[in-house]
């Protein structure tokens, strides 16, 4: 945590709303990225992120001075994503697979197709592996921080990331070779 983030968190804890607003503004894009990758739906992601910030605000007085902000924040956000996934599981998802006419004016770029494949492969991972993979390889948290953010042990965190990498490799190797 940079000294500035630490100062912002400290000021926000003391009730400084401007400091909290700056904190939200700084972390919102990363939070939205994480939630979007976790949930695969922009509206669900936005809802989870906003809900997470409300909870962060309520929990700030309990934040231990000098502790790392990111694992604490991602723990709250990941919890909101899990709750959102649970709610969504109660609904039936309809996937249209036939009679889709491609728009000839907008050809699919190779990058887009790879990105879609990655998102599809990521969505097929168990939620706890997807979470660990994103925290490690996209949000750049250390294994210690992942353990703290997910409430599991260090070796379990390493194992989740490794299994996620193995599964993605299995699913994406062919796609990568065809590009």
């Amino acid at each position: 945590m940079t000294p500035e983030t630490s100062a912002l968190v400290g000021a926000a804890r003391r009730g400084d709303r401007a400091a909290f607003a700056v904190l939200v503004e700084r972390y919102y894009p990363r939070a939205l990225r994480f939630a979007s990758r976790m949930l695969g739906d922009p509206l669900d992601a936005e809802e989870a992120v906003q809900d997470a910030w409300v909870r962060v605000h309520g929990a700030l007085p309990r934040f231990v001075d000098g502790a790392a902000f990111e694992p604490w924040f991602f723990r709250i956000l990941a919890n909101r994503c899990r709750t959102s996934s649970g709610k969504r599981a109660r609904y039936v998802t309809v996937v249209v697979t036939a009679d889709v006419v491609p728009d000839s004016a907008a050809p699919v770029a190779p990058d887009d197709s790879w990105r879609d494949e990655v998102q599809r492969a990521l969505a097929q991972l168990p939620a706890e592996q997807r979470e660990a993979f994103l925290l490690r390889h996209v949000e750049d948290l250390s294994y210690e921080e992942i353990a703290e953010a997910t409430g599991i042990g260090l070796s379990a965190a390493r194992m989740r990331v490794k299994r996620a990498c193995d599964a993605l490799r299995l699913q994406l190797t062919e796609t990568a070779a065809n590009d």
Binding site: A12, V22, R33, S36, Q50, G58, P61, R136
Partner: protein, 194 residues
């Protein structure tokens, strides 16, 4: 932190790394939700508030005890107890502040500007004669954020920030005013009546 990154993982990471665009109203929405949450909490009947507080305290204590951590120095007062009020739908502008001392009908509006290189920041707008009354912003201690709370009448206001007494900049978090009255960038804030 690329110690365990093979080429395929690195390629996956690259495609997942771009940050999504954030809607300009997102920040204002978060703050409005926090205010609504706090208002709901304060409006709970006294007995339910105590029951909720006791249950929450029990859960927290159990959690801390379970992990062998207890921070006795943590302040007991919640940020939620700071008197605050929303001003409404100002895009990208924090619209909450203490409501004490306002003239009737006025709404406290908090302006925030983030600039690590600034030595001084002022807010100028139609509400202060575009700088005839100097409104200096204060730096949030230890950060690059500058802030001030102003009482404004409900309605549409134009404003800008003056950095280091010379540089006139629009608020990067707020919508721009399309018609530049002074040939300089200006932002728009909509203040809703409370």
């Amino acid at each position: 932190m690329t110690d365990d990154r093979d080429p395929l993982t690195a390629r996956v990471r690259e495609s997942l790394l771009p940050l999504p665009s954030v809607r300009p109203t997102a920040l204002a929405e978060v703050l409005a939700r926090i205010d609504a949450h706090d208002t709901r909490r304060r409006s709970l009947p006294f007995s339910r508030r105590w029951a909720t507080a006791l249950l929450a305290a029990a859960a927290v204590v159990l959690g801390f005890v379970g992990r062998g951590v207890f921070d006795a120095s943590a302040p007991s007062a919640s940020i939620a107890t700071v008197p605050s009020a929303t001003a409404g739908s100002a895009s990208g502008v924090t619209t909450a502040a203490r409501s004490a001392g306002l003239s009737p009908g006025m709404v406290p509006v908090q302006f925030v500007y983030d600039d690590a290189s600034a030595n001084t920041v002022q807010v100028v707008g139609d509400f202060n004669g575009w700088g005839r009354e100097v409104v200096a912003m204060s730096r949030v201690e230890g950060s690059s954020a500058w802030t001030v709370v102003l009482p404004l009448m409900p309605g549409r206001h134009l404003y800008a920030f003056v950095v280091n007494d010379t540089q006139w900049v629009a608020d990067p978090r707020a919508p721009r005013h399309s018609d530049r009255d002074f040939g300089k960038p200006e932002s728009v804030v909509m203040v809703e009546a409370r």
